[in-house]
């Protein structure tokens, strides 16, 4: 819904929240009726101040992201007690995610100029351990992700400018306490900081921390700032549940450089350090290029002759080079068609794309013709970075080594496609790839990638079971589970972890194994990786004395390609209900290995 896209009108959202919510719920109901699976997430909002409006507006943004939240809201300022003393209502609620809304108002002691360095250090330890105790207890009890606010700067400076550097200063104390939070975030998985220090400074601390709202309503921030706050928080949550975008589709003229390359000539477009407009576009290109390291794919969608487009990108002072783009569509076809083609070639959904174009007419066409694609309002080049950055399309909650090399992997795929064309026999082609796989139980270094895959894979995914990293760690540690990750490399490069399978041994019938999750990244389709995985799973089941494997297929709007997956692997259909949810079984004793082209664990 465009009202909920950055930059939004916060006052409008606050005022019209009820009717907006109604509209969003109707839309979600429609999606559900058409077979789209909507995520429902239980969110515990544990406040150190009032949270009512925060919860209301957060709900709007989450609904807009296709996440249906259920809320538990602590009684006023009971965040710590609810966790430490096992509030029964919260226990029963069983949160999927815990959000702790504390602020500088919740710091219970501050240094004064009378305090010694030692006593201030002790005070800092004390304030920190109040939180740390609570986080440990929450992780232990609920085994779910925690989102924790850091602290905004105090709204007054008793020592003036000295307040920031002198350890007696409140500003200094808050910075040090924040630093302790960050150190914790660095060592603790599933722990996320909601950076209200940054939010408050963007918004303007004086307005953000207006004492009126604290003394009047016990709000730690002004009510007007709540939409921005809630949006920032919603971005963390949607990112945890795999709803980040994956690719940026770029227009060229007046988007990546100033001027029109076809008319002005590559030598006359504005890019590089010569003019201020050129510098502006260079900064933007640098910003876009840095996304490659985050695993975001870049592509071009431009109305241009390809020759001219490439000439622009090939300028020595262009930061982005033709090589930085996985797909370049520079032609005179409608942009929406190019965009849909691009999504197909990358094997990702239209809803994983962000389309950037300075031309409002092109934006409108894409918005109207392609459902789900994000089309930010890129109207003034000096605002491009700001709009993209604050939109939070790529909020980095998980970061794996895979992200660093994702662009290379997609490039290698293009190479493979070329090679495939030169082989008459597909089996020969597969052999020529010299594939090597590592198929092993979930290992600590891959936990974040595995969780990421369960949230991102839609097409080759039998049950579409979404897992947090905490879920993944739990099943990996449980002796009744068999877990396998599959990593595939070939002569063109390493694809990283591309397949995840886990399931559990039946509680009463020990010879029966249930496959809870089976997924594979579409970047390794038709490489026989799924056979290698099934071979390994069968072998592991056999060694545990299991005689029968039961697989499940739950249809969604995106996973039709694996409807007959289990038939292909020699399973027989046991049942299928009216919605297409099917149960399949096969015996293990007559299982024969099917993979002939991938070397496994050598």
């Amino acid at each position: 819904m465009s009202e909920l896209e950055y930059p939004f009108d916060g006052a409008y959202l606050l005022k019209k929240r009820k009717s907006i919510k109604r509209e969003l719920l109707a839309r979600i109901e429609q999606l559900e009726q058409s077979g789209t699976k909507i995520l429902t997430k239980k969110i515990a909002v544990l406040g150190g101040s009032t949270t009512h409006d925060i919860k209301d507006i957060l709900e709007l943004f989450l609904l807009n992201y296709g996440i249906k939240p259920e809320f538990y809201e602590s009684e006023y300022a009971q965040y710590w007690n609810d966790i430490m003393f096992d509030n029964a209502e919260l226990s029963e609620f069983k949160p999927d995610i815990i959000f702790i809304h504390t602020s500088t108002r919740n710091i219970t002691s501050f240094p004064t100029v009378r305090d010694s360095a030692e006593s201030i250090n002790a005070m800092l330890d004390n304030q920190f351990s109040h939180f740390e105790q609570m986080w440990s207890k929450a992780f232990e009890t609920y085994k779910c992700p925690i989102v924790q606010n850091n602290f905004e700067q105090p709204f007054y400076r008793l020592l003036g400018n000295r307040d920031v550097w002198d350890f007696h200063g409140r500003c200094n104390f808050v910075s040090r306490l924040n630093q302790r939070f960050y150190e914790y975030a660095q060592i603790r998985e599933n722990f996320y900081i909601n950076d209200i220090d940054y939010m408050a400074s963007c918004y303007g601390l004086q307005k953000w921390a207006d004492p009126f709202y604290w003394h009047m309503y016990k709000y730690a921030l002004c009510v007007d700032a709540i939409p921005e706050f809630a949006y920032n928080l919603a971005n963390i949550i949607k990112s945890i549940y795999g709803k980040n975008k994956k690719a940026i589709v770029c227009d060229l003229d007046n988007t990546l450089w100033g001027g029109i390359v076809g008319d002005d000539g590559a030598e006359n477009i504005e890019i590089g350090q010569e003019t201020s407009v050129g510098q502006l576009y260079s900064e933007f290109q640098t910003y876009l290029k840095a996304h490659k390291d985050l695993g975001v794919l870049l592509t071009v969608d431009s109305k241009n002759d390809e020759e001219n487009a490439l000439a622009g990108l090939n300028r020595p002072d262009s930061i982005l080079k033709p090589d930085d783009f996985i797909v370049v569509k520079a032609n005179w076809d409608p942009k929406d068609l190019n965009l849909v083609e691009t999504a197909k070639e990358l094997n990702i959904g239209n809803d994983a794309l962000v389309f950037i174009d300075d031309n409002p007419a092109e934006r409108e066409i894409v918005r109207a013709q392609v459902g789900g694609v994000a089309v930010p309002e890129m109207s003034a080049p000096e605002r491009y970075i700001n709009v993209l950055d604050r939109s939070g399309f790529f909020e980095v909650t998980a970061f794996s080594a895979d992200d660093l090399s994702r662009n290379e992997m997609y490039k290698a795929n293009v190479e493979r496609a070329k090679q495939e064309a030169s082989f008459a026999d597909y089996g020969e082609y597969l052999k020529s790839l010299e594939m090597k796989a590592e198929i092993k139980p979930f290992a600590p270094i891959y936990m974040s990638r595995i969780a990421q895959l369960t949230n991102k894979s839609n097409q080759f995914n039998l049950t579409t079971l979404r897992c947090t990293q905490a879920d993944i760690e739990r099943v990996a540690a449980d002796g009744n589970y068999i877990t396998l990750y599959g990593k595939l490399e070939d002569k063109f490069g390493d694809n990283g972890v591309v397949s995840v399978v886990f399931g559990h041994i039946d509680e009463s019938e020990k010879i029966l194994f249930h496959i809870d999750l089976w997924l594979m990244s579409c970047r390794v389709l038709k490489r026989d990786m799924e056979f290698a995985m099934m071979d390994s799973l069968s072998a592991e089941c056999k060694s545990r004395g299991i005689k029968k494997i039961r697989g499940y297929y739950y249809p969604t709007s995106k996973n039709k390609m694996v409807k007959d997956f289990y038939a292909l692997h020699g399973f027989a259909r046991v049942s299928e209900d009216a919605d297409g949810n099917a149960i399949w079984e096969r015996k293990i004793e007559d299982y024969e290995n099917k993979n002939k082209v991938i070397e496994v664990n050598k």
Binding site: A11, L14, K15, K18, V223
Partner: protein, 80 residues
């Protein structure tokens, strides 16, 4: 702005905030007359009214207002 015009605008704000097209506020309307008007929605209401008229109520004013009529008094005073 006349008192009537203020009421007209207030009606719109109340309808948006409480998502009820039938609301019509009068001088004596207070929290007892509108079902969803509790201390929590009151905050949203006050913020929406402030935005509508481009004013900010002080803490004292916010606490003193007993009904819509008194709210209108303050709005008229401030927008003079």
């Amino acid at each position: 702005m006349t008192r009537e015009e203020v009421f007209e605008k207030l009606n719109e704000v109340f309808r948006d905030v409480f998502d009820d097209e039938d609301i019509k506020v009068a001088e004596s309307t207070n929290a007892d007359d509108i079902e969803d008007w509790d201390s929590l929605s009151h905050i949203n209401l006050v913020v929406a009214v402030e935005k509508e008229f481009g004013i900010k109520f002080s803490m004292g004013e916010t606490q003193k207002m007993k009904n819509v009529g008194e709210m209108v008094d303050i709005i008229l005073e401030r927008t003079k």
